[in-house]
Amino acid sequence: MFEHILSAFLALKANKIRAALTMLGVVIGVLAVTLLVGVGDGARIYLDEQISGLGTNLMTIVPGRRETRGFGPPAGNVARPLVLDDIRALERQASLLRGISPMVMGGGAVRFKGRTRDTMILGVGPAFSDLRNMPVDRGSFVRDEDVESRRRVCVLGRTIVKELFGDENPLGQTVRLADGRFRVVGLMEERGTSLGFDLNDLVFIPVTAAMDLFNQDHLTQIITAARSKEDAPAAAEEVEQILARRRNGERTFTIQSQDDLLKTFGALTAAMTLMLLAIASISLVVGGIGIMNIMLVSVRERTREIGVRRAVGATKSDILWQFLLESVVISSLGGAIGLGMGASIVLALKRFAPSVPVALSPWIAAVAFGSSFVVGVLSGVVPARRAAELDPVDALRYE
């Protein structure tokens, strides 16, 4: 076998330009597979990280009935909105939850000493910080007594601090939020962006204060989390029963779990990766056809050589292996080069453009190289069999 591989290399060396051009098809094919699947995989990993970064075993309860899972358009007319009494009911009755926080979402301007910034204002409960994995850096988060006494205090995200205060210490200062004056009691830790959303560009206030500010008595959503991954389905069931009981058995709300979200996006990115793989495979198939074509020409051109080899003692299977391995070597070499190029590009992107989500997982490398090997075998079989079945006398007489 080693002999055959060696002579395949010698044959390629004897015709370098042709070998290189033949290889090019596979190089491009494998490069395409590596890059496109790398992009697809990168997107999957990115979304996974983003969603997991939201918190652990999270559940979001939104008003309105939704048949589909995952993100959807917010429900419009809601017969029974979510209210603070729902939170109290959950707090009293649920046993599988780690924490519960109401949420009222609104937009507004934050002002301090003539500087203004439009931002998102979140009315939340104390549990929010822990649930959503957003710790306070200095001062304190929204506390129970703040919520109870509808206190006008706020906790600022990093971007707001930077924009409005510069080097000044914001703790204890008073800012204007929409129409109200709020005292700054805490500063959030620096957070990245999540799904394109700047987590530093937020102001947190007690949910009750937010209801006053926006003049509404219902919640945008309720955020909670199961105590553990194992409890998650039972916890969702529990929440559903408690809320339904308060609505005479009507389920006018929807529970979205983090797991659902992961599954939805997972299915989406898997489909995308598969599609990209299919597109890339086309170029690999074209590369394979190129190899087969050249191998057929090569067998014809080397008919006499085949005759001579048979005359000096080569068996049919010697000839078969010779041409098959030549094809496999061309293809695998092309695959290795394509993989090397693809890997270099992916690694370079990771290094110099970290915001582009690409990934190079071992399975891509294995698939890319493996498929180039398979392409080599498939496109080599027909020419190699043709070479092996040549009659030695005809081959020697061939002009």
Binding site: V308, G313, A314
Partner: protein, 242 residues
């Protein structure tokens, strides 16, 4: 392969042909290339097969070289009944007993002389270092010890045929089977090649069977077999003026 005759002694029968027929289909027509040919070639002979074109010389040569098998009759090479052997056994038999020299040299292009010469050894399963050593030795023997790493396109016709001869003798075969070996060479170089064949026949005791048109080459053999229309019409020492 059943029978075994390793080193044959000079004068022992190497090839025994008995009532050989070879028929082909050419379209719808049956061509009878050989019609009942029988003769024996003994070890160490120097023999020319002569005859006009279309007489069956080439068919004879491919049969003797075990590249083809008879339609009828028996051909024994070194004790093996050729028509009973499988494709693989025939390949092994060719590798071990026969060295071919062709009119068109048939060297593998873009491959060095030493690799060309070593080719039969590869199919004999000889290791790489040993192959190169023995190939160099064979090239030395034909006077091309200084051309080991040349490719065929840089050699003259005479040199190419010497490389081909080196390839034929590298396995130390019993039989050198040559098809118009001087047909593509001018007469001076042709004579040198003929001389080389005679030396090999004399020094190595290799049996020399040459298929040729060339009367001067036929004359120098000790025995001529003449074919006409697929039949042996003469078998004996060369005749002047033929």
């Amino acid at each position: 392969m059943s029978a075994s005759t390793d080193a044959l002694a000079l004068g022992e029968p190497l090839m025994v042909l008995d009532g050989i027929h070879r028929r082909f289909m050419m379209g719808d027509e049956e061509v009878r290339a050989l019609r009942g040919v029988s003769f024996t070639i003994t070890k160490g002979e120097h023999l020319c097969i002569i005859g006009p074109s279309g007489s069956g010389k080439s068919t004879m040569m491919y049969l003797l070289g075990c590249l083809d098998t008879p339609s009828e009759g028996s051909y024994q090479l070194a004790g093996y009944e050729v028509s009973e052997l499988s494709d693989e056994e025939l390949a092994a038999l060719r590798n071990r007993y026969i060295g071919f020299v062709f009119q068109a040299f048939n060297l593998i292009p873009r491959t060095t002389t030493v690799d060309n010469v070593a080719l039969p050894l590869r199919y004999a399963g000889v290791g790489m270092g040993e192959r190169r050593r023995r190939a160099a030795e064979a090239l030395e023997r034909v006077g091309l010890g200084h051309r080991l790493d040349h490719t065929p396109d840089r050699l003259s016709g005479g040199e190419r045929q010497r490389v081909a001869i080196a390839r034929a003798i590298v396995t130390k075969p019993e039989l050198l089977l040559c098809d118009e070996p001087t047909g593509n060479l001018d007469s001076k170089v042709g004579a040198e090649i003929t001389g080389l064949f005679e030396e090999l026949n004399h020094d190595m005791g290799v049996t020399l069977v040459i298929v040729t048109h060339d009367p001067s080459m036929a004359k120098r053999a000790r025995r001529n077999v003449k074919l006409v229309d697929g039949e042996v019409v003469y078998d004996g020492p060369p005749i002047e003026g033929r």
